[in-house]
Amino acid sequence: MKTALSFDNVRKRFGNKVALHGFSLDVPTGALFGLIGPNGAGKTTAFSIACGFLRPDAGGVSILESGGFDAGHMKGRISAMPQDAALGRETTCEEHLIFFARLQGLERKAAVAETARVLSEVGLADRARSKTKTLSHGMLRRLMVAQAFIGSPELILLDEPTSGLDPRHAHELREMFGRSHRAGQTIIVSSHNLPELEQICDHVAFIDNGHVTRAGRTSDVTGTGEEIEIQLGGDACPMAALTAALPNATIEQLPEKNTLRIRFSPESNGPGPRDSEDVIGIALRVLLDNGARISGVRKGASLERKFLEMR
């Protein structure tokens, strides 16, 4: 597997506080990768080390399989949206972006065209000549995202990109991440918005207390091949019939929201279902035959639940 970003046992301390310890993570090339963790877990520190803003006390980082961060060597190949870095207030959006594009190696004409493209992508084309001090929080956030996408870098790190955005603009940015991902860019997003990450990311990692507690494909982490949840519309729940139909599965009836949780082993060689679609088919048939009403079906657990279970 080719990796776009790899942390190997990284350690970073700020005074007495250990921000990262034994931090190891591989981000596959071309992934849209979600970094999940509570405040202070080490997400921003990990981002900052990857971008060369911070130096690790121990361990190594490999970016685009070319070793640690080197601005000259990585020019235009890696980009980031730092969470709390200010942009000059008296400078216009366009001036900032053209400057950044030129620093990435683009000639003036290409830089101007690229600036227009990314501003259009984030919906700020009409504010190109506005000074950043006149932008709202959301607009500034989108400008910060735009600068990260200039020149179509191979690897983009986004620290809380949709924080504070209204739902429409947050949705548009997610669409943009998806398009860039499909175009082959590797995107790493850190966020507290777990439904958002679950929606867009094909890989995720949980970080807590400075190290990675779990990482992998989103489908593996949420267990889409091992678990289904069925939300019932009424009180009727034929547990005996279900247990008989799915003998190798563990079935729980959760009191909250009248939900059935069915856990199964896809590798099971015994008689019965082989994947989640089989389980859904059998379970729904039994439930409907026994007069139950169904209001929803979900494969796997939510990232939020998995994250809370890990803690």
Binding site: G72, A80, F99, L103, A183
Partner: protein, 329 residues
Amino acid sequence: MASSRLSYESEAKAVTTPIEPRQTGTGKPLLRDLMLIARFELGEALRTRMLLVMLLLFIGGGALGAWGFSKVVGEFEKRTASMLKTEAGAKPGQSLELLRETPIFRSFVRAAVDDDEQADYIMRLPPIVLFYGWASFTFLPWLILFTSSDTISTEVASRTIRYTALRTSRLAYALGKATGQAIIILGVTVLCALTFFFVAWANFARFDVAATALGLVLFVPRVFALSLPFLGLAMFASMATANGNTSRLVAYGSAILLSIVAGLSGWLRDGGSTGAIAADLAGYFTPFGRSQNFIFPFGSDFWVSLIITIGLAILYFTAGYALLRRRDL
């Protein structure tokens, strides 16, 4: 609503471009980035009105200095005329020019300077040019420390530096910032000289346009050269600290320390004490006390001082960069 949403999405999809190979520009990335950063720094100075503040400080100071000088000369001439029971000119400078042409004044200057070549050089210079040189050598370093010492530290504090550090080396960034500041200093030094020229032209009688213009033109590069170590010191403070106020404090603290070193160095060296060698050596690490050698643009003292000041500028900058290179941003 739905249709506008759809059209937005299709527009956004249309503007997405596939990944293309990087364009690496001229093939001299350090120089190219340095110039880009210097140009952006100039633009920022204009936009943030920092340049306006510098212009007000330098040109305002220059205008005030030239005007004050003309007033002092005028007052001196009035009093002299009153003592001699003669008529003072309508504008200051007439008596001074007449005095400068007398043999007794020449003898006085030769005795004071103790070097005939230097005395003759002073005699050829219009007094306003000498005053410009003295005022610039005296006040410019402190103004530079004030205006340039937070160039990088404020960007570290606000983390604005991170956008640039992602795209170019810290060396290109620091050199670009220093180059931008150097261009600003050169610009305001020239404007300050122009201010002296025009204020003197308006206020002095017997104003020698050509000699004054030539004198100022020849003084500006020397003023700029002597300002470089102070710019280096300001950059050191800016790279060694993480906020504007601290960097100004470090810059002024270092400058005061270096001026004390220069004073002690001269005192101990002249005294012929056992620490004379150490004092002499310490003197090479401070830009203070070198302005005398910059007034006369000839002789070994001038060239040695020029080399030392440029060397000090590089030394201070390098010391600051060594800290910036290793620090967390």
